[in-house]
Each structure stands twice: as C-alpha cells, then as structure tokens.
C-alpha cells in the first residue's frame, strides 16, 4: 500500500487505477488517501477477527501437526511429516477417506438429481399442494443434525424400529433387523439419513434458481415442439447452471465435513465401518489425547477442501462466468 512516495514520479504506463493511486498529494490525491484510510479503518475489525479466529488457528494446527503431542505440556517431540505418513499408513484412516469419497459420489448421483426432480415438481404452483410439499421436503433441513441422528436411531431400532415392523408384514415370525449394528449396512443406513436431510436444502436452492427462469421460455419451447424431457435438459438445466454449480460445491464440501449425524448414529462404528474423516479426527485425536496427530488429520481435511475449492473456483465457477 505505497500510495505516496515523495519525489517518486508516477509511471505513465500503469493502468488507470494504479496511476491514480501513485499520484502525489494533490487535492484529488488527498481524497484518495482519505478513501483508503477509511477502507482500512472499516476493514480492520473484520480483518483482525478473521485473522485471530480463522487464520491463526489454522496455522497453529499446522504447527501442532508436526509434533507428537498429548495436548498437555510442551511441544518437544518433533515428528516432521511423521503424523501424515502415519495417517496414510493407517487402514482406518483410509476407510474414513474412502467413506467420504463414497458419500460425495453417491450424493452427487442420488441426492442432487432427486432434489432437482422434487424442485421441478413443486417449484411451479401448477400442482395443488406444491407449497405444502415444499415445506415438507425442506423440514428435515431445519432440524439439527444431532437431533436427526437420535430420531433415526429410534427409527432404525432393531427391536421396535421401522425395518423390523415392515419385516413383520412379509414374514410370519418377527424378524429383527439391526441396520446400524451391521458393518456392511450401517454406512448405507446413515447415507439414507444424510440424503433425507439435505435433499430439502438443495431443492430450495433449485427452486430459487427455477424462479429466475421465465415460464414463457418453457412455453415457447413447448410451442416449438420440444418434449418435456427436452425442456428440462435444454431449457431449464442450462438456465439454472449457476445454481447447480453452487449446489454441487456445497454438497461436496459438506460431505467432507460430515460429522454430527454419523456421530449420533454410531460414533463411526460398528468397527469403524461408518467412520468419516471428521469422526476419525475425533476418535483418534481427541479421544486418544493425540492432539498432534489429530491436527495432522485436520490439516489433511483442510488441504482437501482447499485444493478442491481452488480447482472448482478456477475451472468450474470461472468457466461458467465467461
């Protein structure tokens, strides 16, 4: 921010803005000084808060991640990248990472298309009850994740839950079904709940996007002989492209940070089969007093999100804005 340097002759080849900044203190320059001082002044509180509560802790956990540290006492057992190597060598960490990737992929191919179809059904007030269903589908999103986790524990309860109840309709004997206690099925049982909660949220995003699409456009396409499927794929989807880009972004980042529901429904168990990166961080960092190692996991999660974010901003969001 070198807006004034005495005796410095402003360069003439600079672009407009820079040129303006470099001007010596004329009446106009004085105004610009005041302007920048004001900006600095107004930005300072937010900047200080952001640095203290976001940037510094991130740097701090980056520093902790290089040590073996119990969270108590001095940092004196330097490990270098040892914690990171240990993480990638750990089978359970790889399960957690794999689970996260699975959640991302299946969210993208199941959750978002479903949310989009619901949005198509209820966005226009064509059908009676569309407002009611809008509220109904959105309802799970309003509840806290931890509450949802506890409610679904009851729904899946092996002795008196819904799956057991349904099984009674088909078999004479009461067959008990314990989804959350099954290492193969628990993941999918939880995945259903995650979809159930977030479909409403993505649906609202799409509805908002759809409201920006003029109905005349659809009508015109129909008059031109487009089928309903063609309208969806050639009119609606291109029109709400930006909404889809945001929805996909939120879905992926959210999947990597998934914690509460998984925790409430089984703490990453049985036998680590539903572990996500964040439950892994909690189980192996906090619970075991391994804060150095936990920090390393946090750094890995941070890097995954950061790299993805940069990539997405540059190639997807950037492309869309061209």
């Amino acid at each position: 921010m070198t807006w004034v340097s005495p005796g410095h002759i402003p360069s003439t080849v600079e672009d407009e803005g820079r040129h303006y900044i470099m001007k010596p203190l004329t009446a106009k320059g004085k105004a610009s000084f005041q302007k920048h001082a004001t900006i600095l002044f107004l930005v300072a509180p937010a900047f200080i808060l952001f640095t203290t509560f976001v940037v510094l802790p991130v740097l701090q956990s980056g520093y902790y991640s290089l040590f073996q540290w119990k969270g108590l006492g001095p940092l004196n057992n330097f490990q270098g990248v040892g914690n990171f190597i240990r993480a990638f060598k750990d089978r359970i960490f790889r399960i957690a990472l794999y689970n996260n990737v699975k959640i991302v992929i299946f969210s993208l191919i199941i959750q978002l298309p479903l949310a989009f179809s619901f949005a198509l059904l209820v966005a226009r007030k064509k059908y009676t009850g569309s407002v009611f269903f809008r509220g109904l589908y959105f309802f799970p999103y309003v509840m806290a994740e931890i509450v949802i986790g506890i409610i679904w524990r009851f729904i899946y309860h092996p002795q008196h839950g819904l799956p057991t109840l349904f099984s009674q309709w088909f078999t004479a004997d009461k067959m008990e079904i314990g989804l959350l206690g099954d290492t193969n099925l628990a993941f999918w049982a939880i995945f259903i709940v995650v979809c159930w909660k977030y479909i409403g949220f993505h649906m609202i995003l799409y509805i908002a996007g759809l409201q920006g699409v003029p109905e005349e456009l659809e009508d015109a396409a129909v008059i031109d002989g487009a089928s309903k499927v063609q309208v969806v794929f050639h009119i609606i989807i291109p029109s709400i492209r930006n909404t889809i880009i945001i929805s996909v972004f939120l879905c992926i980042v959210g999947s990597f940070n998934l914690f509460d529901i998984v925790w409430a429904m089984g703490q990453g168990g049985p036998v680590h089969s539903t572990e996500t990166l964040v439950t892994y961080l909690y189980n192996f960092g906090f619970k075991r007093f391994a804060f150095g190692y936990g920090s390393a996991i946090a750094v890995i999660i941070f890097l995954i999100c950061l790299v993805f974010n940069l990539f997405y901003q540059k190639y997807i969001v950037g492309e869309a804005q061209k």
Partner: protein, 433 residues
Amino acid sequence: MKKLGIMVMTGLLLLILSAVFFAGCAKEDKEEVTEQDKVTITWWALSAGGGDESRERLRLKVIEDFEAQNPNVEVELTMLENEAFKQKIQVAVQAGAPPDLFHSWGGGVMVEYAEAGQLRDITGFVKSDLSKIVGIGALGVYGYDGKYYGSPYDMGAVGMWYNKAIFEEIGASVPKTWPELLAVIKKAKAAGYIPIALGGGDKWPAHFWWVYLAMRIGGQDAFNAAYGGSGSFKDPTFVKAGEMLLELAALEPFQTGFLGATYDDQAALMGNGKAAMELMGQWAPATEASNSDTGDGIGDDLGWFSFPAVPGGTGKNTDVMGGGNGYVVGKDAPDETLDLLKFFLQKEYNIELIDVEGIIPVAKGAEEALEGTLNSVIAEAVAGAGYYQLYYDQFLPPAVGEAVKDAVVALLAGQASPAQAAAMVDDAWQMEK
C-alpha cells in the same frame, strides 16, 4: 467531509467500546480488593442429565454446611453432564486452568493430567486425614507412583446382573463357571429370551467381557506382566480371552444389532425384562429403571453374581474389576479445597449419595446403610477383593483404553481374530509406553 465524519464516528465508537471493556476489567479488580480475604473454590461435578437435579441439590447442601463452618470460603459449583464434562475439563486443563476440585475416575486420564503438572499432590493430606475416612485400597485408584491426587466417594464392581424370574422360568441356577454360563445362555435362548444385553455401539460395555475373561484366566500376574513390561498384551492370557469371548459370541447370546446399540439400549432390555443378563457396574439398577417402560425396572427380580470362574485359570473368583467416582484437586487449588473434599467425604453425605447416585460408599461405616440391598453384595465383593482392577479404559492411557475397546468390538464383529485383537491392544500400548 462526509467520510471524515464517518471516520470520526468509527473512532468514537471504538473508544467507547474499549472504554466499556476496560471499565469491565477495572470493576473486577476492585471487587477482588474488597473481598481479598475471601477464598473461592471452583468445583465441577457430574449431573445425572435428563433434568434430574438431586445430585446438585445434595452438593448445594454440602456447600451450604461447609460455608457456614468456614465463613471465609465461597464455593462455586458447576454441574456438567458426563460427555460435556469430559470435553470441558480437557479444555480447561489444556489451558492450564483446571478447577480446584473436579470429577475424576482416576487411572490413566488422571495420570496424564498429573504428569503435565495440572493436579495438586495431596499425598500428605491423604495420609494424615483422608486415609482415616476412606480405605487405602480405594484411595489407591486416585494415586500413582506413590503420590495421591484425590479421593473416590464411590467404589464399586462390575458383575453379572440377572433376571431371577427368567432364571426360574428356564430352570437355571446362578452359574459359577464359564461352561455353566454358556449352558444358561443356551437355555435362555431356547426359551426365547435375549440371554445377554449388550450395548456394543458404546464399546465400553463390551470391553468388560474381554477384561474379566483375561482376569479370570491369567489373574493379576498376567496384567502386571503386560503392564510392567516383562510380558505383553499378546501373551497367551489375552489371546485366550479373545478365544473364549468368541466361544460365547458363537452362541449368539446378544440382541440383534448389538454392535450398533448404546448402553441405554442395553439397560432398557434388562429393565423391561427382555434380557436375562448383563455385565455391568453398580449403577446398573438405576440406569435400568430409568430406561424401562415403567420407570421402575424389574425391581426385586434383579440379582447379582460375580463373573464366573474359568476352569484352569489362575485368577481368583474374588478378583474384582470395577471403579467409581471421585474428585481430584487442581494445581492451583487453595488449601481450603482439601477441607471441602474431606467434608464431602463424611459418612452422612456418603450415605445420602447411595440414594442419590446409587453409589457403593467408601466412607468407613457408611456401608452399614447398604444392608439388605443388592449393593451390599457388591460392597462385600469390593471389600473382599484380593486384586482390584480399575476398568482398563480408565486405568490405561486413553490411547490404549480406546484400542482395547476397538479391539473387543472388532473381535465380536468377526473382523479380528483373538490374536489380532490382542496385537491391536499391544501395539497401542507399546507406542504409548
């Protein structure tokens, strides 16, 4: 000029804010000066959760009595729910500001705090005062390396709780040995009951089984060898414990979906009379009652027996695994904290705690109040134990405790062999040592 105005306004605002801030600080300073001779003790205790305030009421009464006798002392009580406490205390200790008196289960976590210099060494006071009130064996759980950091107010045992009505119906008697237990399980299963309720999702109820088997097979020597370094958790005792647990699991004695069940689910199955047995600590009757449909559990039908013997095992049937609740003293605690601890441990309050928290009292003479209750059987077991083992998940360092729980659940899920499970524990232990 308008911008200048904004700047001036912002500046003023900041000034006012900082003035308020510093005024706040100044006010606090002032208070400290006027009440300089007043000692404040911070006390963190566990609440029962679910809006039950009986524990808080009792402690407030203790504080009132204590403050009446010590007018210069003010006690600030904070009641926290179990899980919330575990998280908050970790943060407080890491920040170097532990409360003066706070809840602890002793063992590994306490040792971590002590080694970091966050606890006050009260060895002198324990030897001169507390040992006259509380048995030295129970105090030992709150000691380490010859030093003491606190005292228990509750010290119980884990054992088999069983439904007498179901046992009668299936014609079973209390099993004394492992094969007898397996026979009872088969009978109960044939009669349509859940032989054993288990909250495998919470993991710690499952680890009791493995630890007790190891205790009965190898006794104190096996554990001491592994703990002391002359042996390891890969020793035959711990592998055998896994094998015998699989022998049990092969009978499918647990409820469907037990790997995803919580301890509350387990307690509900017992409290509603659906399950015949559970392996649990002294708090089981209270938890069963509060999780049952009627709110009363199975009442007089509930019985207790100690974990059965393993034929050929060197562990004695009187060896007990258990633990309890207690308080440790934070590093900066004033001397009055010790008086408060001693005051809290007196017989009268310890007896009241039997009703309020379902404890097994530790204060000398308080056990008389148990007479005629099931808890007296547990108190006898604790008193008669030649070898008293604190639960592994509390006794061992947290990383190893977690590994034990994970290993036992993996074993029960069929995802680890007995040898692999033992190796999981040993790997964590060798890393931590």
